[in-house]
C-alpha cells in the first residue's frame, strides 16, 4: 500500500513540478536524474559486490565521446548513435572487466582508476579525434521522428531523461531482486562458499560488471545530449569520485540511496558554486565528513531512526 502511495506521489510530482518550476530548476532536475542513473549503475558494483570502483567514469565518458564524435562527424542519427554509444560502453566494460576482476581490494581500486585515467589520457592527447582539452562542442539533441515535441525544450528533455531513468531503475530493481542478483549478494558475502556450491562466480561477476557499465553508458549518452558538449572531464577521476560519493552519501546497496545522493550532491554543488569556486574543496570535506560520520549514508540514517522508532513502539506494546 505504502509503495503505491509513494509511486502515485512521484507521478504527480513529476507531472506537476516541471510546469511549476523555473527553467533553471527543470535543467537541474534533468542533471540530477542523469547522475542518478550513473550513481545507481556504480551502486551495482559498490553496494552489491563491494567493489569500490574509482574508474566508473570510463563507461560514462566513452559513451559521451562516442556520441560527440559520431554526431559531429558522421551524422546525428539518434537510433544509430545512442545504441552504439551504449554498446561501446559495454565493449569497454567487457575488456576492462577481464582485467579488473582478476584483482581484489586495493588492487581493484588502483586498476579501475588506472584504466579510466588511461582513457582520459587518450581523450586529452589524441587531439585529432577528440580535440583534446578543448572538447567537442555543438552536439545537438536528437530529433526523434515519432515524438511530437522537440527535445530542445528543457521540459521535454526532462521527460525524455525521466523515461530512461524509470526504465533503468525498474530494470536494475528487477535485476537485484532476481536469482542472479541474489547470487551476486552471495558472492559478496562469501565468494568461496558460492564457488564451492558450484556457481561460476567469475562469470557472474563479469556479467554484473558489464551490466553496470551498460547503465553508466546510458547515463553518459543522456549527459552528452544534455550538455551539447563533451570534454575529458567526462572521463576524469572527478566524475568517478562524484559518483562514488553519491553512492556512499545516499547509502550503498540500496539503489534508491544513490538517487538521493545524486540529488543532494547536484543541488549542493549548485549552491556552493554560486558562492565560491572552491567546489572541489567542499567536495573533499563532504567526502571526509560522510566517511567519518555516516558509514551507511543518508538512507542508513533514515532506516536506523525508523527502526529505533519501531523498537520503541514494540517496547510500549510489550
Amino acid at each position: 500500500m505504502r509503495r503505491w502511495i509513494g509511486i502515485i506521489i512521484l507521478i504527480l510530482l513529476f507531472g506537476i513540478l516541471p510546469h511549476v518550476l523555473s527553467r533553471y530548476y527543470v535543467i537541474l532536475l534533468t542533471k540530477i536524474l542523469i547522475f542518478a542513473i550513473f550513481a545507481m549503475s556504480l551502486d551495482l558494483l559498490v553496494g552489491y559486490l563491494k567493489l569500490p570502483s574509482l574508474g566508473h567514469g570510463a563507461f560514462f565518458g566513452i559513451a559521451s565521446y562516442f556520441i560527440g564524435i559520431f554526431s559531429t562527424r558522421v551524422g546525428n542519427s539518434f537510433w544509430l548513435n545512442f545504441p552504439l554509444a551504449i554498446a561501446m560502453a559495454v565493449v569497454v566494460a567487457a575488456v576492462f572487466g577481464l582485467l579488473v576482476l582478476r584483482t581484489r581490494g586495493a588492487y581493484f581500486f588502483m586498476i579501475s582508476l588506472a584504466l579510466s585515467q588511461m582513457l582520459w589520457g587518450i581523450a586529452f592527447s589524441w587531439r585529432f579525434l577528440t580535440r583534446g582539452d578543448d572538447g567537442i562542442p555543438g552536439i545537438s539533441r536528437p530529433v526523434i521522428g515519432f515524438l511530437p515535441w522537440s527535445l530542445q525544450d528543457p521540459i521535454c528533455y526532462l521527460y525524455f531523461v525521466l523515461f530512461f531513468f524509470m526504465v533503468a531503475f525498474i530494470l536494475m530493481y528487477i535485476l537485484v531482486q532476481s536469482p542472479f542478483g541474489h547470487t551476486i549478494l552471495g558472492i559478496r558475502e562469501s565468494e568461496l562458499r558460492m564457488r564451492t556450491l558450484g556457481y561460476n562466480t567469475w562469470l557472474h561477476k563479469y556479467i554484473w560488471f558489464i551490466i553496470s557499465g551498460l547503465f553508466a553508458g546510458l547515463a553518459g549518452g543522456l549527459s552528452v545530449y544534455f550538455n551539447g558538449f563533451v570534454s575529458p572531464t567526462s572521463l576524469s577521476v572527478a566524475i568517478s569520485a562524484d559518483a562514488l560519493l553519491m553512492v556512499l552519501l545516499g547509502g550503498a546497496g540500496t539503489l534508491i540511496g544513490p538517487v538521493i545522493g545524486a540529488g543532494s550532491l547536484v543541488l549542493l554543488e549548485n549552491i556552493v558554486s554560486a558562492y565560491t569556486g572552491r567546489w572541489l574543496l567542499v567536495l573533499g570535506i563532504i567526502f571526509v565528513l560522510v566517511r567519518m560520520t555516516t558509514p551507511y549514508g543518508i538512507l542508513g540514517l533514515v532506516n536506523r531512526s525508523g527502526s529505533k522508532e519501531q523498537r520503541r513502539h514494540e517496547g510500549i506494546g510489550g
Binding site: M110, A114, M118
Partner: protein
C-alpha cells in the same frame, strides 16, 4: 647512439623520482594494507612548500628540509586524526585519502595559484657533461645517485635496523607484533609520515625538472600506481624494478610516440596482471 644513452639516463632519472613516491606507497601498504591516494598530493605540496621556502631563504637545503618536515607532519596528522579511527576498515581509509586529495589539491591551488612552477637548480650542480655529441645535465646524474642511495638506505633500514624489524613484524603478523608489545599505532603513524616525507622528497629533488602544476598530483599518482601494479604492493624490490621499467617506458614514449605513452604503460600493466594479478613481487 648518444641519443639512446641520454634518453636512457633521462628515463632512469625519472625512475628514481617514481621510486621515492612508490617506496612510500608500498611501505604504507605493506604495513597498513591501504593505498594512500594522497601520495601525489604530498609530492605536489613538497614542491610548493619548497618553492615558498626557496623564495624567502634562497637555500636549496632549507627548502628540502622544510618541505620534507612539513609534509611529513601533515601525513602524521592525517593518519593520526582521521585514518586512525578506521583501523580495520581499509576501504574506508582509502576513500578518506581520496577526500584529502581533493581538499589538499584545491587548497594548494588556493594558496599557490595555478601557474606552473619550477624550482631553480642548486648552484652546486649547474652545468653538464658531454656524452657523444649531446649534453647531459650534472643535476640529473646527482638525482640518479640520490635515488640509488635512498633505495640502498631504505633497504638497509628495513632489513638491518631495529625499527625496520618492527615494521617487518607489523607487516607480517600484526596480532603477533601487538602481542609482543610493539606499539602498532605509533608504527602506523610513523610509517605514514615517512611515506609522505619520501614522496615530497621526490617532488623537491625533481623540482628543477618537473616542478609543480595543477593536476600533477594525479599524473604522479597514476604513474606510481602503474609501478606498484607491475612491481607488486608491499615490496621495495618490486617498487624499485617497477619504477625503472615505468620510468624508462614513459620517457621513451614521450620522445618517440607522445600520444600513446599511457597506453603503452598500461598495456604493460595489463600483461603483468594477466599472468600475475598481484604484480611481480606482490604479497596479498
Amino acid at each position: 647512439m648518444s641519443f639512446w644513452v641520454i634518453q636512457t639516463l633521462n628515463g632512469i632519472t625519472f625512475s628514481m623520482v617514481l621510486f621515492l613516491i612508490t617506496a612510500g606507497l608500498t611501505l604504507i601498504f605493506g604495513l597498513m594494507r591501504i593505498i594512500n591516494l594522497a601520495q601525489g598530493c604530498f609530492y605536489l605540496l613538497g614542491v610548493l612548500i619548497g618553492f615558498s621556502v626557496l623564495q624567502s631563504t634562497n637555500s636549496f637545503l632549507l627548502c628540502l628540509f622544510f618541505g620534507i618536515i612539513a609534509t611529513g607532519i601533515l601525513g602524521i596528522m592525517l593518519q593520526r586524526f582521521f585514518l586512525y579511527r578506521f583501523q580495520d576498515d581499509h576501504e574506508g581509509q582509502v576513500l578518506l585519502t581520496l577526500g584529502f586529495v581533493f581538499i589538499l589539491s584545491d587548497l594548494a591551488l588556493l594558496i599557490w595559484g595555478g601557474e606552473p612552477k619550477l624550482l631553480p637548480k642548486p648552484s652546486l650542480f649547474e652545468g653538464s657533461i658531454e656524452i657523444g655529441s649531446n649534453f647531459f645535465a650534472i643535476y640529473r646524474l646527482v638525482m640518479i645517485l640520490i635515488g640509488v642511495l635512498i633505495a640502498l638506505g631504505l633497504w638497509l633500514f628495513i632489513g638491518r635496523t631495529r625499527m625496520g624489524a618492527l615494521i617487518r613484524a607489523g607487516a607480517d603478523d600484526i596480532e603477533m607484533a601487538r602481542g609482543l608489545g610493539i606499539s602498532i599505532p605509533i608504527l602506523f603513524t610513523g610509517v605514514f609520515g615517512l611515506g609522505a616525507a619520501l614522496s615530497s622528497f621526490g617532488g623537491i629533488i625533481a623540482g628543477p625538472l618537473i616542478g609543480a602544476h595543477p593536476g600533477l598530483e594525479w599524473d604522479i599518482l597514476l604513474l606510481s600506481m602503474a609501478v606498484v601494479l607491475i612491481g607488486g604492493l608491499g615490496s621495495l624490490k618490486g617498487a624499485f624494478l617497477g619504477s625503472l621499467l615505468v620510468g624508462l617506458v614513459d620517457n621513451f614514449c614521450k620522445v618517440l610516440i607522445p600520444e600513446l605513452g599511457l597506453f603503452v604503460i598500461f598495456g604493460a600493466v595489463a600483461i603483468v596482471l594477466a599472468f600475475k594479478p598481484t604484480g611481480l613481487f606482490g604479497r596479498l
